[in-house]
Subunit: 310 residues, 2 copies
Amino acid sequence: MTPSTSTFSARLNAAAKLVEANLEALLADNARHGEIARPARLMAAMRHAVLGGGKRLRPFLTIEAARLFGFEGQGALRAGSAVELLHCYSLVHDDLPSMDDDDLRRGRPTVHRAYDEATAILAGDALQTLAFEVLADAETDADPAVRADLVLGLARAAGLGGMVGGQMLDLSAEGRYGDGAVSMGEAGVRQLQMMKTGAILAFSVEAGAILGRADAGARRSLVEYGRALGAAFQVADDILDREASAEALGKRTGKDQEKGKATLVDLLGLEGAKGECRQLVERADAALGGFGDRARILRDAVRFVVEREV
Amino acid sequence: MTPSTSTFSARLNAAAKLVEANLEALLADNARHGEIARPARLMAAMRHAVLGGGKRLRPFLTIEAARLFGFEGQGALRAGSAVELLHCYSLVHDDLPSMDDDDLRRGRPTVHRAYDEATAILAGDALQTLAFEVLADAETDADPAVRADLVLGLARAAGLGGMVGGQMLDLSAEGRYGDGAVSMGEAGVRQLQMMKTGAILAFSVEAGAILGRADAGARRSLVEYGRALGAAFQVADDILDREASAEALGKRTGKDQEKGKATLVDLLGLEGAKGECRQLVERADAALGGFGDRARILRDAVRFVVEREV
């Protein structure tokens, strides 16, 4: 382990602990200002969906991107937690019987298995709402322009033209709505992945630039970095899905093959996909060129994303 | 028909046309700024969920509440449309097989019947996201403090302590998670209804006050009016569910009785419930006392809510 990766792991783990504590506080049982009551079953299902695991990569990116601009406040923790809530909602709904029909997530029963389908749908719905509530709250940033910008960015990344649209394309790619799996081609697969996974990862980074009052040029650089990281994440995921065991991932593997969905590994080959990962790491590095050594932790982050084993 | 109700109907219908056109524009097929692509199947399901019907009561309340403060801009139409998108998402998810399992909505197949369950879940998810996107967009109001306030208000009304929490309590009241239907008592039923339906209706009104830069006292009055209207809406709904035919409502009736859920009609009797409606109309009127004749259309609105036949 190089000194750099050791520092990286320590900071990733430290951030994860702060995020976990913040998420626990957000998902407490007692009702808050403006709320009538918090139903116990709903809260338990939401906590099951969110707490007790995960690398918390998205909040980490928000916190570290904000730090690049000298922003060290609680706002980055809160905004990152909001992105994590949004991410967790998407996992709960993706796992549902009518979607990917998964029984395990992070080695534990999925929410609809631990509770029931209706509760899982509602828990996901409320997690999405809570993500926007956290961003719009003055506790996240005193400047309402920053809060409105965060909400707008997350909504665009998460909605019909981003994450949810990507999940729709993914279901279509299984051939559910036609005769057999739809052949998407490389451009189609890349678009699907950018929508389903990349957009939220890129926003995690952009959120830090927004909080850090980055100028337009610096913000564009961070978005470019975030897109490269998002793409790298997905190619690495395709490679992992082909190579890793279910035990290590804590979920079923080889699912895409089962469903006849093309991944970048199919289209580029395993070595081609690994080469693409290396190129994306270079693209991410290049985007951070103007920040010099201050951006080292973000450069480490993209390497972590492509080298992770789970 | 008195002159007042004739004016009211004309304004309600005129607003509904503007809202329909605005919703159509928001749900067009072509991708917008910040979006990668809009999948055709998802857009079709979202349009099915939103367009072609409905009284558009919530946007009407936003528009008329804003007008009470002299605010006539497009922002009220957009904010009202956002509330309508949120409302429509909740209907799509409530209709799902694992929730209320409804085949009809406004006399047409529900989204999961017209498409499929996965598409319906995603369409609902994306409608919720779009609601927050519309509110956070600078087109809704030039002042980011207003936009952040709108997002925060909608999130609190829609989430775990409001609408979604209310739906969770409603499912619990069916006795799904215990032995038979849960006896909630009058306070419990009122709380459930305030969460499930009342909070969003109250926010529809409050959104107009936010856009109209109402001072704290005037905003409180509008919220109090909105709460009375929301409660009246739900009691009227319970009465309709008992009295009206499925044909007139375009959906199944008597469902609450089938499921053993207590409504205010059970608890207060039919005449008692009608008396409560009258009291709520008085409470709504009283809340608007300070606005004099300018608030006539909002006074008409609460009467419309309790006297409607569908």
